[in-house]
Amino acid sequence: MQDEPTPIELTKSVADFLRNDITPLISGHQAFKLRVAINILDLVTRQLTREEGSDAAEVERLRALLGIDGSVTDLNRALAERIAKGEIDLATPGLAEHLWATTMDKLAVDQPNYASYKREQGRGG
């Protein structure tokens, strides 16, 4: 077991330093790049916070849908192949719910301000 602070806490401290202390000092193209950098650190923090839980739920859904076991990567590959072959489609019970849940979990990390995501979140996650 590694010591603390956790990676989440460490990443967040760097993002906060850049946001609060460095942003006021920088302008022009470098300021734009700094915003991108801060956005990356914020994304990493969100992923570190949420990934374990969302991956576990995703694996559980994929196991039920596919009837096989494996890592989240393997199971995603298997689902992609079955959809490509036409063995699973939107008429398959659970597929639409699974894709929606997985996609919402991705947006929560990638782009929580994306308008489509906010709209769908308003429908109850």
Binding site: A84, L99, W100, T102, D110
Partner: protein
């Protein structure tokens, strides 16, 4: 310094020109650059734009029409009354500037978010969807016997191409697989008519002023194909910049777009438009994957490129909203 070459060039083809000033690079990758500069002239300064591939970068990417074709298309559009900058000069070897062309600079805004938010454009915004319909109709009516040589692409070929692009990324995405299946199942087949297709007509590639659309830019993906492709692409959610209830670039409704198109004497096929909107959403998603791949493997190891890879999920949610909506 590029100003010396530009100055010598301008004095050859622009009667009375005495030189150029204010040359500044606006954008540029390795193979293509855009510059702005002013031609000094006794009748007043002429604002201009240079689009070029620098020397040694002649070859265009496979999907691109090439700068010479782009110049020809913009000139044709200008002559037909489609808002477009006037092409002033196509570069020749004596210019020593590479390949490309010089066009008149059109003042206005291209940044989509500004056009959607700033007061300056408030009066124009509600009219834009209909105006865009009219412009697309004009563009699709450009005389085919005058067009430069362009690649020809129908729905079936595009599906196959995107399938191949997606698989080359080795990036298994169940939502993209679902979209590819949907596209195959809904492939409308060859279009009843083939026209010029702009290929990248969207909010962000239009110069807009308080009076509406002033110029259509970025003709590099022009090709021959189904005219409904342009109507679908302009509706892709990625180009609504947050205004998700206004499908046409965040400006207005499909009804307005279609009305403007039909008022200009052309017919809309809404089913085909929907097909191309799904296709366009997937297209942008796969392009995000391409950015990720270039970030990983290519020389452009920039943070911006990395973050575009993380925007593929935006197209996944938009594809689900199109293909498996959760009710209102």
């Amino acid at each position: 310094m590029i100003e010396a070459e530009l100055s010598r060039s301008a004095q050859r083809w622009c009667k009375g020109a005495t030189g150029v000033t204010g040359a500044a690079k606006l954008s540029g990758g390795a193979s293509q650059e855009t510059w702005r500069f002013d031609i000094t002239h006794p009748d007043g300064v002429i604002g201009t734009i240079l689009r070029r591939s620098p020397k040694g970068y002649g070859a265009a990417p496979t999907r691109a029409a090439g700068l010479a074709a782009e110049a020809q298309l913009m000139q044709l559009a200008f002559e037909a009354g489609v808002p477009s900058p006037r092409v002033m000069h196509v570069l020749v070897p004596e210019d020593d500037l590479g390949t490309g062309f010089i066009m008149q600079r059109v003042e206005g805004e291209t940044i989509a978010r500004k056009i959607l938010r700033d007061d300056e454009f408030a009066a124009a915004r509600p009219r834009l969807a209909r105006q865009i319909g009219g412009i697309l109709a004009g563009l699709h009516k450009l005389p085919q016997d005058k067009l430069p040589a362009l690649r020809s692409r129908g729905a079936t070929q595009e599906i196959a191409e995107f399938d191949r692009d997606y698989r080359s990324l080795n990036w298994p995405k169940p939502v993209f697989e679902l979209a590819l299946r949907w596209l195959r199942d809904h492939d409308p087949g060859p279009s009843g008519e083939t026209t010029l297709v702009h290929g990248d007509f969207r909010n962000g590639n239009l110069i807009i002023g308080a009076d509406g659309v002033r110029a259509v830019l970025d003709w590099e993906l022009a090709h021959l194909g189904d005219p409904m492709e342009d109507l679908g692409w302009v509706c892709v959610n990625s180009w609504r910049f947050g205004e998700i209830d206004k499908p046409v670039g965040g400006f207005g409704s499909r009804e307005d777009l279609f009305a403007g198109y039909e008022a200009a004497g052309r017919k809309v096929d809404p089913e085909r438009v929907k097909f191309w909107e799904v296709m366009g959403t997937l297209r942008w998603g796969i392009m995000c994957g391409g950015m990720m791949q270039r970030f990983r493997e290519g020389p452009d190891h920039s943070m911006e490129r990395a973050m575009i890879g993380r925007r593929a999920s935006e197209t996944e949610i938009d594809l689900l909203r199109l293909l498996s909506p959760r009710g209102s």
